[in-house]
């Protein structure tokens, strides 16, 4: 068993950390842009969201067993991957503000579709999930240390 395999349990938690951090960054970006009425693509800012998918090398066989020929040693569990960041295309509110530079002919300004309460909920869940992944990483480190301590007596 190579060192890479021995410590690859950390990669699973690390993938979770990366994913949750990205979710927090996207939520922060949404909050920062909640009043942006113009973007490079034209129109108001559209809320971004992150899509996750389980990264597994194996398929689930009958009876819920993982069938990939390796006997399910756990080496093929890869944690989570970020599929992509997509735009939420639902329209936002229109505010009547004729003096605004982005106002249309009728005097309405199209606002972004960012909902602050959605973003706050996203931030909290992402932060909690980040903590959980961190806890898992820390536990793995302790377990590896325990196992390596067995070598301490050998001289």
């Amino acid at each position: 068993m190579s060192m890479n395999h021995m410590l690859s349990g950390m990669d699973i938690s690390a993938s979770g950390l990366t994913g949750e951090r990205l979710r927090m960054e996207v939520a922060a970006n949404n909050i920062a842009n909640q009043h942006s009425t113009r973007t490079a693509e034209g129109g108001p800012y559209q809320r971004q969201r992150v899509t996750f998918a389980a990264a597994m090398d194996q398929v689930i066989g009958p009876g819920g067993r993982l069938t990939n020929g390796t006997g399910g040693s756990g080496q093929d569990l890869k944690g989570v991957t970020v599929v992509g960041v997509t735009s939420d295309t639902t329209p936002g509110q229109a505010l009547y503000d004729p003096g605004h530079p982005d106002a249309d002919a009728t005097g309405y300004v199209q606002q972004s579709n960012v909902n602050l309460s959605h973003e706050m909920v996203d931030l909290v869940t992402a932060s909690r999930a980040y903590e959980a992944n961190l806890k898992s990483l820390e536990t793995f480190r302790q377990m590896a240390e325990q196992a390596l301590a067995l070598l301490r007596g050998l001289r």
Binding site: S8, G9, I12, S13, S15, G16, G19, E20, R23, F52, A53, A54, M56, I60, G63, G64, R65, L66, G71, G72, S73, G74, Q75, L77, K78, G79, V80, T125, A126, R128, A129, A132, N133, K135, S136, L137, T139, F140, Q142, M143, Q146, A147, A149, L150, G153
Partner: protein, 142 residues
């Protein structure tokens, strides 16, 4: 060399040590090694569940080992073979209620399982370490 010369066929070698004792000692090592291995695989499974706590339609996975091991050990209790063939197996947990997004991971449960698994691993490592110390004591006498 003189000792070997005295026993030409060496059929009673090693002297004074009961072969069964030695075998049971080895099987304890084997058993603990496999149990530690299984806790590591289970840690991977739980980590994978935690990493996918926000993945839509993800189904929780767990590791089956101890029950199968107990079954194997009880079936071979009256035979001489002590080799363990059970391997930890990753399975999807059934019968859990899924959230609206089709995910059935409960983060509190996972953290609980994570701690339990880590403590089990600690127990096995301590036991193995004690066995190693005993062995060392027997070999060196100090």
């Amino acid at each position: 060399m003189a000792m070997f010369a005295e026993c030409s066929d060496c059929s009673d070698w090693p002297p004074l040590v009961d072969a069964d004792d030695m075998q049971s000692f080895n099987s304890q090592f084997d058993l603990l090694g496999r149990l530690i291995d299984a806790t590591e695989v289970r840690h991977r499974a739980i980590s994978n569940n935690i990493a996918n706590v926000n993945t839509p339609n993800y189904r929780r996975i767990d590791v089956e080992f101890e029950q199968q091991l107990a079954r194997e050990l009880s079936s071979q209790s009256n035979s001489d073979s002590t080799a363990i063939t059970t391997k930890p197996e990753i399975v999807q947990t059934s019968g859990l209620t899924a959230r609206a997004d089709g995910n059935n991971v409960d983060i509190d449960r996972e953290i609980g399982q994570l701690n339990k698994n880590a403590m089990l691993q600690q127990t096995y490592v301590q036991l193995l370490s004690t066995y190693l110390d005993q062995m060392r004591l027997a070999i060196t006498g100090q």
